[in-house]
């Protein structure tokens, strides 16, 4: 291609206009100025091109050189991604720390994957095999938790003519293929993929299995399917990050990719403290061994924030293609949208709503559409899934703004955070009246098979009770609670138990951090069966005080902190108490 060299014409913030590379193309990575700042071409005209620079541009001068690489912005894919912490353009942050000290200096060019590290490659194909795109040619134990499957890159087919086994670097050929036209192609453990392009799969499947996160309000009321997409909008202080971090730590995903996009540095520090310390429930290994973290904090360059989302989702798709269930967490997509807005503004594009460019909805749709459950390309036949969970930070906590509105069009579930709940320290502060999940129908089918037949029924009735109780509360706020009839007061009492004892859940330590589905079911059954029987008693003129004074009633609030067996015990104790009252008043609880 020859030397692709141009020079800077104009600098405005992180946007640089340059001339001199005639065939510069959109998406091409360029190095800007004497320091070689990393940038990407975002617009081309006949005689000039516009670069979005991923680093701070102060001190840059018109006339300085610009070098084109001829390559699109790509993610490096291969063993070594797991446990690594990258910045928005896939530079390993620990490596930057080692080279440049505690502050991120600019102009540092680093490979995402170390070239000198050796991995033990174990082949799964033999000479003479015909392999094509997506076929697994061998495996590498990347971490004790993750077997990294080396796949034939998309678009390649041929006969295996050479196979290596043993310790190798990512850049060595592990398998050599001969194609139809007798060309030899080496397959390395390292592959590249342009981040803005979704990776192919054989077939998209519908989702059927829930992602179990262990938070009752999500699992029971607003579940998300593996391969689905959910958003969590909320003003500051309502607990977006805490909720997402807990999902990253405790959910039953096989792989978690966490993108800290334009958020706080200390939140990343917290993840880095927690991830090596927390252990995976199944294997007992630290969860960092199945995680990748991308950290582009709010004070790091804005344009790299825009790229970080694509870097993350590309790595996630790559592991999906190996046949893993991957969860991608993006915190926060609003900061990404703001980066789009800022760059768009500097390019002088016509804004539509609140300064956002007209293509904001398209970008959001493209991103969330990369979620899904798929049949992967290649042999052996396998399926993988990619679940996307995105935080949204609406200005002023007002959901009526472009990013929230458009995101809701492309996701299947919303966990709406409520400042009033947060002020009361009711966490997770997910509002049960306005949150939704379109995955409920398919997940209920799964529940009836794997948890209990009547779980869906309990769920529906509990939700209804919560809705009715908020109507009663509105009346109570006018006439006073003591003026209400007893059956309505019972609804208020049970709603309170549901809120305190079921919906509210700690995110910190102890038994209640992760609530398994069978315990969720039994807790809900306890509360709702209590309600049914108590309601019957009240219908037969038993007073609310008699019911409320049962000593075990408030136990229902605390039982979540105790193991499964204790819930069972509480259930039988409560039923016995109600039965005793029924006998006392000669009421039948059956039927």
């Amino acid at each position: 291609m020859g030397e692709r060299k141009g020079y800077i014409e104009k600098i405005s913030g992180t946007v640089v206009i340059a001339r001199g590379i005639k065939d510069a193309r959109i998406g091409e990575v360029v190095y800007v100025g004497y320091e070689g700042l990393i940038g990407e071409v975002v617009r081309v005209t006949q005689d000039s091109f516009v670069i979005q620079v991923y680093e701070n541009t102060s001190g840059l001068s018109p006339g300085e050189p610009v070098y084109g690489t001829g390559k699109l912005l790509c993610a490096e894919l291969g063993p070594g991604l797991m446990t690594t912490i990258f910045d928005g353009i896939q530079r390993p942050l620990y490596e930057i720390l080692r080279r440049a000290g505690p502050f991120v200096r600019r102009g540092i060019r680093l490979n995402a994957l170390p070239r000198d590290r050796k991995w033990y490659f174990k082949p799964l194909v033999k000479i003479g095999d015909i392999v094509s795109e997506g076929d697994i040619v061998g495996v590498v134990q990347e971490t004790p938790l993750i077997e990294h499957r080396i796949m034939v890159p998309p678009g390649i087919k041929g006969e295996v003519v050479k196979v290596e086994e043993g310790e190798m670097t990512v850049n060595e050929d592990v398998v050599i293929l001969r194609t139809k036209d007798s060309k030899e192609i080496g397959i390395k453990m390292l592959q590249e993929w342009p981040v803005r392009m979704p990776r192919p799969c054989r077939e998209r499947l519908t989702s059927e299995v829930p992602l179990i996160v262990g938070q009752r309000v999500i699992d029971t009321f607003f579940p998300v399917a593996k391969g689905g997409a959910a958003c969590i909008p909320g003003g500051f202080g309502t607990g977006k990050t805490v909720t997402l971090q807990k999902i990253a730590m405790y959910s039953d995903s096989e792989i978690v990719i966490y993108i800290g996009c334009g958020e706080r540095g200390n939140e990343i520090a917290e993840l880095l403290k927690e991830f090596p310390r927390l252990h995976d429930a199944k294997s007992g290994r630290p969860i960092i061994e199945r995680s990748i973290i991308i950290a582009n904090t709010s004070n790091m360059p804005v344009s790299a924030r825009e790229a970080s989302i694509y870097m993350g989702v590309t790595m996630a798709e790559y592991y999906r293609d190996m046949g893993y269930h991957v969860t991608l967490i993006a915190d926060s997509t609003s900061r990404w949208a703001e980066a789009l807005r800022e760059i768009s503004g500097r390019l002088g594009e016509m804004p539509v709503e609140r300064g956002y460019p007209a293509y904001l909805p398209d970008r959001l749709a493209e991103f969330y559409e990369r979620a899904g459950r798929v049949l992967c390309l290649g042999k052996p036949e396998r399926e993988g899934s990619l679940t996307i969970l995105g935080a949204v930070s609406p200005p002023g906590g007002d959901f009526n703004e472009p990013v929230t509105i458009h995101t809701l069009r492309f996701v299947g579930a919303m966990w709406a955070l409520d400042p009033d709940l947060a002020y009361r320290r009711h966490f997770p502060a997910i509002n049960w009246n306005i949150s939704f999940s379109q995955y409920v129908d398919i997940i209920e089918r799964w529940w009836t098979k794997h948890v209990a037949k009547d779980f869906p029924e309990y769920r529906r009735r509990a939700l209804r009770l919560l809705v009715v109780s908020s109507e009663i509360e509105a009346i109570a706020s006018i006439v006073g609670e003591s003026a209400l009839p007893d059956d309505q007061r019972l609804i208020l009492l049970v709603a309170e138990i549901l809120k305190e004892g079921y919906l509210r859940q700690t995110a910190m330590e102890g038994e209640d951090v992760f609530c398994p589905l069978n315990k969720q079911y039994l807790m809900l059954k306890t509360i709702m069966d209590f309600f049914d029987k108590a309601y019957k008693l009240i219908r037969h003129n038993v007073s609310i005080e008699e019911i409320a004074n049962i000593p075990e009633v408030f136990e229902m609030i605390r039982v979540k902190e105790r193991p499964f067996e204790e819930v069972k015990k509480l259930y039988s104790k409560l039923m016995k108490r109600l039965k005793d009252i029924a006998i006392k008043y000669n009421v039948s609880l059956e039927g």
Binding site: K10, I11, S12, G13, I17, N56, T57, S58, G59, L60, S61, P62, G63, I85, L93, I96, L97, A100, P102, F103, V104, G235, F236, G237, G260, G262, R264, G265, N266, A269, E270, L272, K273, A295, T297, S298, N299, V302, R335, E338, R341, E342, G345, P351, G355, P395, G396, G397, D398, P419, Y423, R424, S477, I478, G480, E481, S482, E500, M508, I557
Partner: protein, 469 residues
């Protein structure tokens, strides 16, 4: 004419004469070679006055310069000297005990800083993997903060206030009383006054002098009648000094920035002059990133002993929490302390409305070994009970106290006790965390014991006044 000759003689290198346009704070210069983005320029008007400026857009035929200082009196006929470097200040331990303006010129009658390394005031982002997660509890001696909004070393916790409330008094009290338990060492204070009225500035300086803090304080002062442009530099100078003290000299530094609302107004003013596409309410779309480039400079770095704890103060325009300034700040900082006009009107000091206030790093700084084992539970219970109490109070306004259930009346009484005994304290009253927690138990004991559902049984039996006899 002789003046100009003087000036030309004084500076080395190229000096250009004549600019194309001066529009507001912006100056457009044509035909300049070798302009660097964000470099500092010196502008000398025909009145002979020197001003500083900064290149904000550089191209081969046009440089756009933001003028720092007053633009009044400038004509298109003026001299422009490009210095070839971004805005840098010298840092050394000489800055302690000193006062500077928003251009880092001394305003205490002493000579400027001549020793030490020159550093760019924009700083560089801390590598997130180099950060140490903050966990050392700072005792401020203020019950509402220590118990319910615990501050830790390396945190950025702003005060959201409204004009007329005692936020300055509160900030001064925190600066005076803040200590880490078990350590003798006192905080060094870097104070940045941004667009401050001189009475406010004098209040802080007097406070620092009286408490002796002035010896270990640096003051950067941009007064209300000082140039608007310098408001953008004031907090950055303060943080550059703070970084030096914390990460080179390994001191623990408390940085107070007040009033960040004036900073944001200045940012809007400049953005409008540049004819940029505005985001919300005319504030530039990049205000989030800009504020983050200030606030995120707080923290602790692994392997260094020092720390930067940041306390920005801002007045919410119209008392509106959803206004872009408090809103964007809240998304960046690790919590917020919100002051309430209603509590102030009731005569309660400090008038902290704890319900919407928050400290995100609290959990890492409290508990056994750090404060006390009951701390977390007591705090949770106070939040829960007070929010119910406030709700009961609203309800009582409609149905009257009689219409409330007995339970709600209990919470109503609790809310009053909470405000009167726990929240209220004197501006010179310094409570230990144990005293604070004991007061909390005292007000909680107003409620029946079975209402304390957020506190485990064994903790109740250990600390509830009923069991302590």
């Amino acid at each position: 004419m002789s003046e100009i000759i003087d000036i030309v003689a004084r500076y080395q290198g190229k000096i250009y004469r004549g600019v194309k346009e001066v529009r507001g704070n912006l100056m457009f210069v044509e035909g300049i070679k070798e302009v660097k983005n964000e470099e500092v320029v010196i502008i000398v008007g025909s009145d002979g006055k020197e001003r500083y400026g900064r290149v904000i857009e550089a191209s081969r035929d046009l440089a756009v310069i933001q003028i720092l200082g007053e633009e009044e009196g400038l004509q298109t006929d003026c001299l422009v000297k490009f210095t070839g470097t971004t805005f840098k200040i010298r840092v050394s331990d000489e800055v302690l005990g000193r006062m500077f303006n928003g251009r880092f010129e001394p305003i205490d009658g002493l000579p400027g800083i001549t020793t030490g390394e020159k550093r760019d005031i924009s700083g560089e982002p801390i590598n997130p993997v180099a950060r140490e997660y903050p966990h050392d509890f700072i005792q401020t001696g203020i019950s509402a903060i220590d118990c319910m909004l615990s501050l830790v070393r390396g945190q950025k916790l702003p005060i959201f206030s409204v004009s007329g409330l005692p936020h300055n008094m509160l900030a001064a009290q925190i600066a005076r009383q803040a200590t880490v338990r078990g350590e003798k060492e006192e905080f060094a204070v870097v104070f940045a006054g941004i667009g401050l009225r001189s009475a406010e500035a004098e209040f802080f300086i007097r406070e620092f002098k009286e408490s002796g803090a002035i010896e270990r304080a640096t003051v950067i002062l941009n007064l209300a009648d000082d140039p608007v442009m310098e408001r953008l530099m004031t907090p950055r100078i303060a943080l550059t000094i703070a970084e030096y003290l914390a990460f080179d000299l390994e001191m623990h530094v408390l940085v107070i920035l007040t009033d960040m609302t004036n900073y944001a107004e200045a940012l809007r003013e400049i953005s409008t002059a540049r004819r940029e596409i505005p985001g919300r309410m005319g504030y530039p779309g990049y205000m989030y990133s800009d504020l983050a480039s200030i606030y995120e400079r707080a923290g602790i770095i692994k392997g260094k002993r020092g720390s930067i704890t940041l306390m920005p103060i801002l007045t919410m325009p119209g008392g509106d929490l959803r206004h872009p300034i408090p809103d964007l700040t809240g998304y960046i900082t690790e919590g917020q302390i919100i002051l309430s006009q209603e509590l102030h009107a009731k005569g309660i000091y400090p008038p902290i409305n704890v319900l919407p206030s928050l400290s995100r790093l609290m959990k890492s700084g409290i508990g056994p070994g750090r404060t006390r084992e009951d701390h977390k539970y007591v705090s949770d219970q106070l939040y829960d009970a007070y929010s119910r109490g406030v709700k009961a109070r609203d309800l009582a306004r409609i149905v009257g106290e009689i219409g409330l259930s007995e339970r709600m009346r209990g919470y109503l009484k609790f809310a009053d006790e909470f405000e009167r005994k726990f929240l209220s304290q004197g501006p010179y009253e310094n409570r230990t965390i144990e005293e604070t927690l004991d007061i909390a138990w005292e007000v909680l004991s107003v409620l029946p014991e079975e209402e304390l559902v957020r506190i485990p049984r064994d903790i109740i039996e250990e600390y509830h006044p009923k069991y302590r006899g």
